[in-house]
Every structure is written in C-alpha cells, then in structure tokens.
Symmetry: C2
Subunit: 175 residues, 2 copies
C-alpha cells in the first residue's frame, strides 16, 4: 500500500545514490523530484534522472547520467526513453559531438500535458471499451439490475465523459 501508507509514515529522509559525488544542490533537487515521481506513480530512477537534468546548467549525456547518478547504462537508457515519451526530456545535439545530449523540459504546461496524454488518455481509451461491455451486461440483466446499480453505472458513464472532456484541457491554464 505504498502511496497511502507513505503519507502516514514518519517523513524519512529519502536517500539518494550512496557514495556518489553529487553536490548538495543536486542531491536536494533530485530528492525533491524522486518524491514527486513516486507520488504520480513513476519509478524512482525517472525522478533521479529528471532531477539531475533539471538542475544541470548544460545538456547532459547518457554517460554522464550513468557516472554521476551511479545507475546502470540500461536504467539510464530506459529512463530517458520513458521521460522522452511523456515529453519531460528533450533531445539536443551539440555541434561536433556524436553523443546524444538531454535537457529537462521545464514548462509546467508541457509536463502536465505530456503526463496526461501519456498516462491518462490510454486508460480512458480502455475505459471506453469497458463501458461498452458494461452496457451490454446492463441490457442482458434487465430487471434483475437494481435501480441503485443502474444509477451507479450512469455515474460511471458520467465520470468517464467528464474525464475525457477535462483531460485534454488540463495544463492549458498553467504557466
């Protein structure tokens, strides 16, 4: 019961990469983003990577992430890809350097929109399918279905519609 109990537990100081050579600034920022990513259900490594990029004054290479964060190349690669798919990290190329360089997307609007369309929308799609199946069950049951149950199903449909309407708007009003 991670999420809920976490909020009830004593505020244990989240520790980051043990014997690393990260600066206090980097440690503190990373720590903050690790907390944030856990809150929204993303793995800790994504928080570490994003946090490091966020506070880095320069674009960062995969190799730098591996060394500074003491994570494996695989983790860094996969983490960066995940962050790119939700638009939280951008790829840039430095002239005369073959390596990929990464920077954090720091526009709140983009971050929220990216998260919504990467995480929420797919679920809303499958929700659509599920509601269809529910409709079928509802009809097959006929009068066997109690009125209060019928009302609850109506509520589900309403919630879903509401979510589909609001989701694309989230982030529009942020700056």
């Amino acid at each position: 019961m991670s999420a809920i109990s976490a909020s009830l537990d004593p505020p244990s100081a989240t520790c980051v990469a043990s014997g690393s050579d990260l600066t206090p600034l980097e440690l503190e920022v990373i720590d903050l983003f690790v907390g944030a990513t856990r809150l929204i259900g993303l793995p800790r490594s994504l928080g570490e990577i994003y946090g490091f990029l966020f506070i880095s004054p320069e674009p960062v290479t995969l190799d730098q992430l591996v060394q500074r964060l003491s994570i494996s190349k695989g983790s860094a690669s996969q983490g960066l890809r995940a962050l790119r798919t939700i638009g939280a990290v951008k790829l840039s190329h430095q002239p005369g350097d073959r390596r990929d360089h990464y920077t954090a997307e720091t526009e709140l609007k983009s971050l929220v929109s990216g998260f919504i369309s990467g995480q929420m929308l797919p679920h809303l799609e499958t929700g659509q399918t599920r509601l269809g199946r529910l409709r079928a069950i509802e009809e097959s049951m006929g009068p066997e279905l109690r009125p209060i149950q019928r009302a609850r199903l109506e509520k589900l449909v309403h919630w879903h519609h509401r979510a589909r309407t609001l989701a694309p708007l989230a982030g529009k009003f942020l700056d």
Copy 2:
C-alpha cells in the same frame, strides 16, 4: 516502470480473482476500478474492494468482502482502512447487527478531495521543508550558482506555490 510501460503494452485483459463466484457485472466494474487505482498508484486490492462496494446495492461487511473477493481478512481490513482514510469508503451500522458495514463514497467531489488531501497535501508539506533546505543551499553557494540554476530554483518555488493554491480547490468544480 509500471505506469509508463503499461500504457505502451498491449491491452491485456486484467483478470480478477480466479475461481470466484462474482457476477459478470461485478467482475467488469471491479476490473474498471482496478485499472483506475493502478493509474493513481494505489494497490490493486483497493480497486477490488472499492469496485465491489461501488456496485453493491447494499452495505457490505468485511466478511463478505473476504468471501466474494477471495482475499484475506488482513487485506480486507487494511484495504478498508486505507480507503476510509482517503474518504472513499464510509462506515455504516445496520440496526441489530454488530458487524461493521461499508459503503462506497460515490461523490466525485469527495473522492477527489479525499485523494488530494490524503496523498498530495502531505507531499506538499514535505516539499515546503525541501524548498527551505534548497534556499539555504542557494545562499551558501553564492556566485557559484549559475543564473540558469537560480532560475530553475525559482521555478520550483513557483510550482510549489501554484500547487498549494490549486490543490485545495480541485474537486470544488466537480459534480
């Protein structure tokens, strides 16, 4: 990387309690809520319990949950407590019955508010602490801190303030 990869994986049919005697209606509704709870980072059993309560026409006892969902008494007890702490489940007493009965809170407004104040606000509190530490680091660094880094820290403060302002309002505009 559960959350992200999940949205990229093929839409595998989430299965619920194997050889249970749940009705198709219950199965479908539970399935839907299991998906929803996973999306917001809560354990599957919470989705099962809430889903079952949601579609039950009558208040339900702990024992019924154990039997119908084929989960342990411990799971049911802990799950119900978690759901109650975020206000998603209400306790009711049936006259002449010593057992506790539970019902699902179905007001979207309450659900959202409960989730916010149960999950988000605690994090925002610790965020406050972290920003304080960052401020200290910022001052201790002096000119060593690059302007772009200073700007990023400003952005963090702005985000945090924004979140603290908006969080309590979320849900106010839902019906």
